[in-house]
């Protein structure tokens, strides 16, 4: 599903942060275009 796709990552400081998602998504074959960690507080 993710292979060869381009990914935008919107992590959450209180959930799963951007770098953690990025580490996972990179193993799927998708290209990470942008990764950030938001704070909803």
């Amino acid at each position: 599903m993710l292979k060869d796709r381009k990914a935008i990552i919107l992590g959450d400081r209180d959930g799963i942060p951007g770098p953690a998602i990025e580490a996972c998504i990179k193993t799927s074959g998708a290209e990470v275009l942008f990764s950030t960690t938001e704070c909803f507080v």
């Binding site: 990914a7 935008i8 919107l10 799963i16 580490a23 998504i25 275009l33 942008f34 950030t36 938001e38």
Partner: protein, 113 residues
């Protein structure tokens, strides 16, 4: 969703088009994840940012959704996400994000690619 991030998402959607782009969310709850999902697919529901009234139609997925998890290396996933997967309400998050994806991005999973 952060206004600067909305601007960045808009820029990338314009640059790459919606077909090959996916947005992966890491929100802690169904509500915050749902708002982010809606923002990138149907526009900013708070009408505050650059995506107000802008229907990008991007497909949002949460990192906790089974089809995302299934595409990732299990060891890396466990190391990076395993702990939060145990404490967050996975069912509620998955239900919310997938319903918004179906409603605004025209696909519950892979069909619309």
């Amino acid at each position: 969703m952060d206004l600067a991030n909305q601007a960045r998402v808009k820029e990338l959607a314009e640059q790459y088009g919606k077909n090959d782009l996916v947005v992966i969310l890491g929100g802690a709850g169904a509500e915050s994840s749902g708002i982010a999902a809606e923002t990138v697919s149907n526009g900013d529901p708070s009408y505050a940012g650059p995506l107000a009234g802008v229907q990008l139609g991007l497909k949002p997925y949460h990192i906790l959704e089974p089809q995302v998890k299934g595409d990732c290396d299990p060891e890396v996933y466990e190391e990076q996400v395993g702990m939060m997967e145990m404490v967050l309400d996975v069912d509620a998050i998955v239900k919310e994000v997938s319903s918004i994806r179906e409603r605004y991005a025209g696909s519950a999973s892979e069909e619309g690619r």
